[in-house]
Symmetry: C2
Subunit: 317 residues, 2 copies
DNA sequence: TTGCATAATGGGCAAATGCTCGTTAATATG
DNA sequence: CATATTAACGAGCATTTGCCCATTATGCAA
């Protein structure tokens, strides 16, 4: 054993003593200094060293601690601005369970702001459930804009549009996008989107402070299909082009690239590029949505993610 | 699940979040407050709760951490004023290894005092080694008094008397007890102890600020026998009376009670009652001494103990 | 030995923390 | 429904902590 090693050992031993006195015996650094015959500063250095040298291990025995660690790792891995991970209830298949409450809390934080805020809303069970979780708030200073059409293929209004629900409880001015989610043709879409009120909505979305969006899976029974926005043939076409998920109607592949397909020419939602330029919070969980979430993250369409423990684990593999 | 439990759970969950942010993510309480939408005080309460509720587990990965925990437990269990535990070197049988250095450090602390101090010294390998470890110190303001005789049965001075060694390095005035450790009879002991200079030494010991004593085992080759202070027959007699250990010549049983024996009538050391009335630091370690240490602690003859890891573990069983 | 380089030390200060106390909100009770 | 009881809250303050910087030890080569 070399002399320098010996000296390091001695210092580490002192650090361990100081660390023990500080963390286990709850002494103040002054008390440690007195007991070890040091100045307060030296004691502080030893305590600090005990931590730096990794002698001190802190563990948090609570399920949410794991969630927070997962959140940090997901945030890190995908370069997100933030990530929230909730507990998973294995006995439930509800795609919105847990994450909707978190999304609602985040929405509420925006609504409680004094400054006028523009909030953009996408589609999905998660978003709608989140909106339902909101308490009654009077915040007429804010505005809510939809980034996705609210009309079904037959031209009827979509009862599920979260914009209606959110207006009921917040009394904030609403800006619905009264267009079909998917136009019947690329030409129709161009005409629709050229309309002035629609363009105003798009401009408003561009200036939104935050957008909340669900992430749709593109397996054999995706929301887009069950809600009648696309046909079985169209779905198959998207799938064969590599589509794994969609956000507000825009289908993308595993790398997050928009699918080069007829459908994407007909989507009349706010563009993903627009969403990517503002704070866009994705709200999604579940095995089914995993490829979709991965694609959305790969394409950098989201700045923030709200998901659950099981999904976060998968995302880290 | 009752409502109150639910509320407690929610609070604990918040506590876990706050604790995670504080201990794992190294946030300040202000940052936690901002992130969780609370006041700084509430965040502080949650962090504190996380600790109180036992969610936060702090572990120190270093051998000395274990020693310090053992020391705390021994101190607690035996009602000591303090306890120090050193690392055990399993490859050595030296009865003084490690503990002598600690005892020396403690002695040094007394010698470095400004105020005049009286230090009492007992016998034993541990004490002598400790004294040898002392650096050269000039501290003539202090006094050192022996609590045990320094004469062998043949009347010769004991070279091992730590008093001689300690005087060489400290230049503090020495007060040796120039009497036989064990007088040849109870009557002789009475005569000896009645002498004025001897009585003065006893009085000085009574006023000592601290005493350092070894703890002698009473197996079949104890120091008392090998140094020729008692005969084999006397040892056997003590053993048959239940003697398990001795301090400065006084033999006691497993409960710490002084042995009712001829030998204890002839011991001319300072009484254990006197030692018990001042700060008396026992210095001992090793499997052999375990019953002796247990007895000494049971009899409350010591206020402080310096031992090693392995011995401390045994003491806690 | 001298001079230089590096590390350790303690003073001092701003930030962070723990705690008490009066007030307010929530809940139970009559 | 009014009132009592309790828990939570935040303001304010004293203590504790982290860290910069000037100064002092320590080592080391010339």
């Amino acid at each position: 054993m070399s002399k320098s090693n010996g000296a390091l050992d001695a210092r580490l031993e002192d650090a361990a003593r100081a660390g023990w006195l500080y963390y286990v015996a709850q002494n103040t650094q002054d008390e440690i200094a007195k007991k070890m015959g040091l100045s307060r500063q030296s004691a502080q250095r030893l305590v600090s060293l005990a931590m730096t040298a990794g002698l001190v291990k802190i563990r948090l025995d609570h399920p949410v601690a794991r969630c927070m660690t997962l959140a940090m790792d997901v945030k890190q891995k995908y370069g997100l601005d933030s990530c929230e991970v909730t507990l998973t209830d294995p006995s439930s298949n509800d795609p919105a369970l847990g994450i909707a409450q978190v999304a609602a809390a985040e929405m509420e934080r925006y609504f409680l702001r004094k400054e006028p805020t523009i909030m953009a809303l996408g589609t999905g069970r998660e978003i709608r459930t989140a909106v339902d979780e909101l308490p009654s708030l009077d915040c007429s200073q804010h505005r809510i804009v939809s980034v996705v059409g609210s009309l079904a293929p037959d031209g009827s209004a979509n009862d599920n549009d979260p914009l209606n629900h959110i207006g009921d409880v917040t009394h904030a001015p609403r800006h619905p996008l009264s267009v079909p989610v998917i136009a019947s043709s690329a030409d129709e879409r161009r005409v629709i989107c050229a309309q002035k009120p629609i363009r105003r909505n798009f401009d408003l979305a561009q200036k939104a402070d935050v957008a909340f969006v669900g992430i749709g899976e593109l397996n054999d029974s995706p929301p887009l299909l069950t809600d009648g926005f696309i046909t079985w043939e169209e779905l198959k076409s998207i799938q064969s082009s590599g589509g794994v998920g969609e956000i507000v109607g825009w289908s993308f592949d595993a790398q997050g690239q928009l699918i080069d397909s007829d459908i994407n020419e007909r989507v009349s939602s706010v563009s993903l590029e627009t969403l990517a330029s503002i704070r866009t919070i994705g709200v999604a969980r579940g095995q089914d949505k995993l490829p979709a979430i991965r694609g959305a993250l790969a394409g950098k369409w989201l700045s923030d993610l709200i998901t659950d423990e099981a999904t976060a684990e998968q995302l880290l593999k």
